[in-house]
Each structure stands twice: as C-alpha cells, then as structure tokens.
Amino acid sequence: MKRFTPYLLGVLGLFLLGWLGMVYYPYMAFAELRPDRDSTTNEVTPPGLPGTAVQGFRVYAANGCVECHSQYVRDKNEGADIDRKWGNRRTVARDYMNDGDVFLGSSRLGPDLTNVGARQKDAAWYYKLLYRPTSLNAESGMPAYPWLFIKRKIAGQPSADALQLAGEDAPPPGWEVVPNNDARELVGYLRALNRTYPLPEAPEPKE
C-alpha cells in the first residue's frame, strides 16, 4: 500500500457498497410503500394521524420521551411484547409510513408506547401522569413534566380540563392546574398512538 489513489478508491468503493445496501436501497424500497386497502371492507391501513397528533411530535421530541419509551412491537418469538399486551401483532415498516418523525427508541425504562392510545383513552389520565407520575404510582420511574401545565388562580368558573389532584399534589384552594398548549398536543399525539389495525404482512400471531 504505497500509492494514495488506489487506496482512496478502495476506501470510497467499499464505503459506497455498504452505503448503497444499507442507506440507498432501504430509502428507495420504503419510498414505495403504499397504504393497504382491504379489498373487501375498503378499510385503509395505516390510517393517517390527526392534526393535533402531528403537532405533538415536537413536544415528544423536545422532552426526550424517546430515551425511555420505545415504539415498536417485536415478533411473538422475539420477546414478550405481545404477551404484555403492548400490541396485537409485530409492527412493520408500513406502520410508520405516515409519521413525520419515528421514535422507535432503544430503551424500555418505561413501557412501550406503540399502542398506548388503544390502552388509555382518557385525556385526564395522561395529564395526571405527566404532571405528577407519583400520583398514579408512588414509586414511579417516570419524571414529572410540570412545565407543560399552568398553575393559576381560578377566575370565575374552574376550567373544565383542570386536573383532579388530591393530597400533597393538589394546588392551594382557589387555584387550579390546567394543561398548556404543549401538553394538549402531546396528549393528542399519545392518544393517537394506535397501531392495532390489521396489515397483511404482519398477521396476528395464533395462540
């Protein structure tokens, strides 16, 4: 190995090969994904996300929820995800085709959120979890996000979406805690996380 030019070509060539295989090819292959239209029921899967959910991506990203929560369900013989009721089937590439940002995550310090919107539908529950996780589970491993909420004096009627808090967490009398816009968008996103629809390439595992 003396001359520089063959060396340079060698390095670039090897690199190009891997790049074509692991970057370019998937890029092209995934660009061809189309939603599945069930020919009998005309159901289109995956359905797109509602507008508020798309806004919620930003809040989810900014606060790093992805560092503790994953968003994919593995095959039945590659983990207990399905047994834990985190999903009814594994997720595949097509599940994510409508998402502007995909937070697969690689840590499960917290539970998987792929289908959290199917498990928990109540917005108030989410607000409570985000404001004071310890109010739902005293030993919670989830950090609190108080800056997504506004603590304010009740003017006139209490707000409809004020948090129902008890004990130490409750605001002083005459005060209320309401979610701010970020919290609303984030919870909109979480409630839209539901990938329980069917896809032909990922059949539900048989018992």
């Binding site: 190995m1 001359r3 520089f4 030019t5 060396y7 340079l8 060698g10 390095v11 670039l12 090897l14 690199f15 090969l17 891997g18 790049w19 295989g21 692991m22 970057v23 998937p26 890029y27 292959a29 995934f30 660009a31 991506f57 990203a61 606060n63 790093g64 929820c65 992805v66 560092e67 994919y72 593995r74 590659e78 983990g79 207990a80 047994d83 834990r84 009721k85 594994r90 997720t91 590439a93 599940d95 994510y96 085709m97 409508n98 502007g100 940002d101 995909v102 937070f103 697969l104 690689s106 499960r108 310090l109 539970p111 589970n137 030993e139 919670s140 491993g141 989830m142 950090p143 609190a144």
Partner: protein, 484 residues
C-alpha cells in the same frame, strides 16, 4: 542514547499557529469530556431517582430526556470528535511530514466547531431537540460542525494529494479513512434525515446507520490509527506484519458499513436488513482478531512496559476493551440473545466498552503522548495520572459489568409477561445505583485528566517531567527486530 540534557526548544524554533490550533482542539476536547461526563452522571442519578430534588426534577432544561442527548452529543462531537480531529491533524502532519501550515484555517474550523456545539447544547437543553439520536442538534446549527469538518478534511486531502500522494504507514490509512468517512456519514445523516426530513421507516433506518457510522467508521478508525502509533512507539518496535495490518484495515472497513441496524434489531425492518447487520457484527471479529494478532506480536511479550509508559498503558488497555466490545456486540446481536438484552441496560454495555472504553482510553493516551511533543510541555504529578487511569479502568469495568448483569435481570423480567412492568422497574433499581457510582468514578477520572492537562500547560518539558509519564523503552537486541 538518551540525551539527559535535552533542551526542548532550540533557539529559533517558534510555536507555529497551526500547533497552537491543534492544541486548541485537544484542550477544548478535554473540557468537553468533563462537561459530557457531568451530564452523564446527572443522567444516571435521574434514572435512579427521577423525581428527586437532587436530580433536578421539575427543571425543564435539565430533564432526563434533554440531559441524555446533551451528554451523548457533547461526548461524541465535543470530546471524541474534537480531540480525535486534533490527534489526527497532529499525526497526519507528522507521519506524512506535511508542512505545518493553514494554522488560521485549522483554528477557524476549531472555533466554528466549538461555537456550533455550544449553540447546539443550548438549543437542546432549551427544548429544541429533534429527538433523533445524535442528530438532536438542529440542522442549521450542526451545519457549523459540517463546515468545520469539511474545511479540515479538504485541506488535509489536498495537502496530501499535492505533496506526497502515497501512504506508507499503517496509522495513516486509518486516519485518512476516518476523515473521509466522517464527511460521508455526517452528510448522509444530516441531509437525508434532518434536512430532507425523511419521515416514515426510512428515518430510523438511516439514522441508526448514521449513529453506527459515527462510532464504527469515524471514532473507531481514529482510535485505531492512534493505537497503531502509541503501541509500536511505546515498545520501540515496528508493527509486526503488513499483511495482518492490511487484513485488519480492509476487513474492518468492508464489514463495518453493513452493521448499521444494531440498535433496532427486532424492529420494523425487513428480515434481510437485520440479518445482514447480525452477520456484519459477527464478522467484525475477524479483522479485530487480525488487529489483535498484530498488536500482540508487536508488543512481543513486553506488556510490562505499559506500566510506566502512560500512553502505551492507555492504548493497550483501550485495545483490550475494543476486543471485548467486538465480542460483546457479536454475541448480543444474535436474535436469541438480542431478544433478552434489547431495550435493557445491556444495550448500553456496547457503548460503554466502545466509546467510554476503547475510544476514550486511546484518545486520553494520545493526548498524553501528543501534548508534550506539540508544545514541549511536561507532565507533573504522575501519581494523579495513575489514579486517573485506575479510576477510568475500574469505572468502565464496573459500568460494563453492571450493565450486562442488570440487562440480564431486566431482560428476563421483561420477557416474562407475568411480571408486572413496575416490578421490573423496581428490580433494576440497585443496578441503576451501581451505574451511578461507576459513572461517578469516570467523572472524577476525567476531572483528574483535565487537571493534569491543565498542570502540564504550566510546565516546560524537562527530563524530570518526561520520565514521569513516558520513560523510553529499552531497545531490544536488534536480532529480535525484523524490519523490512
């Protein structure tokens, strides 16, 4: 042959701007290491006690999910990349005997890099993170990093092309390849994922390739290049075999580009992509064995020299951590093993061995090696430097062990649907505590490292300050040395 009265600076030799510029990279890199490990330490405390006041619960810019990217970005782009660039600039210039020019450009690039990183850190902590691993910094800010890298690397390539156009020594192969790959990997990640904002499954696929590329095609080759200098020079013997060196280099390059999907194994990607990643991770054992054989024969049984000679000590320990990291990644990438370790603390063990272990050890060793030669400085307080070494080694060892065992416990917990999720969170608390302790040791080790770098800046090179860190190895009888 040791000249005891060596006068370091001959009359008429002045500090060039380019030397000062390289020193700037090394010094700011060291500062970033301390900042990064502080974030890391805080993050481990937060994982242990997410809602405790001492873990800054409720402070938006120090929440878990922002401290973690602050740590990884400052560690990779601050410490490892910046120091690595400095080390590469020094070694490439010295080995290829390029003239020491372009000081202004190198310094400008270094300043741009640092400023972008400060700005990026501020942005991430302020809630502007994109949430994409190692791309958390907003693309318009990280363009600064790109610009700086392009400036340096283009300059090196042009110089190289014009003056020498040949590569004679093994470390140069690695250093030049690392610089080339960095531009390519970084551009791919920034452009496809961040600027075009590719959504859908393409995004995590390319992003994970990018992250792996930063580790395995940028930082690891840099560190290997440094190891190929520190180890032979530490024992005063040439590298054992050119053939093995070639196998190691080309094999590593050809395989590592395919190992991209590591962090999303079992994920929503076609079976072939995952299988190729597994195969690549296993096959990496081959070039690493070649590297190991080469270093082992080069050392030729003189491992004892790694005692007094600090750069050599760091390089050799670091390389053993690299071998461990390679075998560990190969082992955990198998589906049957991955399904236990995925999503657990065990996933971090590879990071620990590779980045906090191999790359950091080798770079620390390189700084110990380069600074005296660059600025005619000497090392003081050898006891402190040894303590630093032991803190770092025990810290990395304890951390990796904790992550492996903790990962096993967590993994078996998660794999059993009968165990409540919250029970799994409880089982791993002790492991999170040990992790906190281990990272604390690393933090103090890095603090001592920073301190000794600072001290050395105050002392001129002299015989006394040299021997403390790096006594010259006794030359072997020529019969043993086979130089081509």
């Amino acid at each position: 042959m040791i000249n005891d009265t060596a006068a370091p600076l001959r009359a008429g030799r002045t500090l060039r701007l380019s030397q000062a510029a390289i020193a700037f990279y090394l010094l700011t890199g060291t500062a970033w290491l301390i900042i990064a490990s502080l974030f890391w330490w805080l993050n481990t405390a937060q994982a242990f006690a997410p809602n405790a006041r001492y873990a800054f619960a409720g402070v938006p810019w120090l929440t878990y999910g922002r401290v973690w990217p602050a740590f990884t970005n400052t560690f990779v782009f601050g410490w490892a990349s910046l120091t690595g660039l400095g080390v590469a600039l020094y070694f490439v210039s010295r080995l290829s005997r390029l003239s020491w020019r372009a000081g202004v450009m190198i310094l400008t690039a270094g300043i741009i890099w640092n400023l972008s990183l400060v700005l990026g850190l501020w942005h991430v902590l302020g809630g502007g993170s994109t949430g994409r691993e190692l791309l958390e910094i907003n693309p318009s800010i990280s363009f600064g990093l790109f610009l700086a890298a392009v400036l340096i690397i283009t300059w090196l390539l042009v110089e190289f092309w014009a003056y020498r156009n040949e590569l004679r020594s093994v470390p140069l192969w690695y250093l030049m390849a690392a610089l080339l790959c960095f531009i390519w990997v970084f551009t791919t990640g920034q452009v496809i994922v961040n600027s075009w904002h590719t959504g859908g499954p393409t995004q995590p696929a390319i992003q994970s390739w990018y992250v792996n590329g930063l580790y395995q095609l940028w930082l690891v080759p840099l560190a290997l290049g440094a190891a190929y200098i520190l180890i032979p020079e530490g024992v005063q013997r040439p590298v054992y075999s050119l053939a093995l060196a070639r196998i190691g280099f080309w094999g590593y390059g050809a395989i590592a580009v395919w190992a991209g999907l590591f962090s999303f194994l079992g994920g929503p990607f076609p079976a072939w992509m995952q299988t190729v990643t597994i195969v690549a991770n296993v096959l990496l054992i081959l070039p690493v064995l070649a590297l190991f054989a080469n270093f082992h024969r080069t050392l030729n049984g003189r491992y004892g020299l790694a005692g007094p000679n600090l750069p050599l000590r760091f390089a050799v320990t670091g390389f053993f951590l690299f071998v461990a990291a390679t075998f560990w990644s190969a082992f955990v990438s198998f589906r049957t093993v991955d399904f236990i370790f995925h999503f657990t603390l065990g996933m971090e063990a590879r990071w620990t061995l590779l980045l906090a272990g191999f790359v950091s050890f080798t770079l620390i060793g390189s700084v110990y090696y380069v600074l005296p030669r660059l600025l005619d400085r000497g090392w003081l307080a050898p006891g402190m430097m040894r303590l630093q070494f032991w803190l770092a080694s025990v810290g990395v060892g304890l951390l990796a062990l904790d992550q492996v065992v903790g990962g096993l416990v967590q993994g078996y917990g998660l794999a059993d649907a009968k165990i409540e999720f919250s029970a799994v969170v409880d089982i791993i608390r002790p492991f999170l505590l040990v992790r906190f302790v281990a990272v604390g040791m690393l933090f103090f080790s890095y603090l001592l490292f920073g301190l000794s770098v600072l001290l050395s800046m105050c002392f001129r090179y002299s015989e006394r300050t040299r021997t403390t860190a790096e006594p010259v190895a006794p030359v072997e009888t020529p019969a043993e040395v086979s130089v081509a």
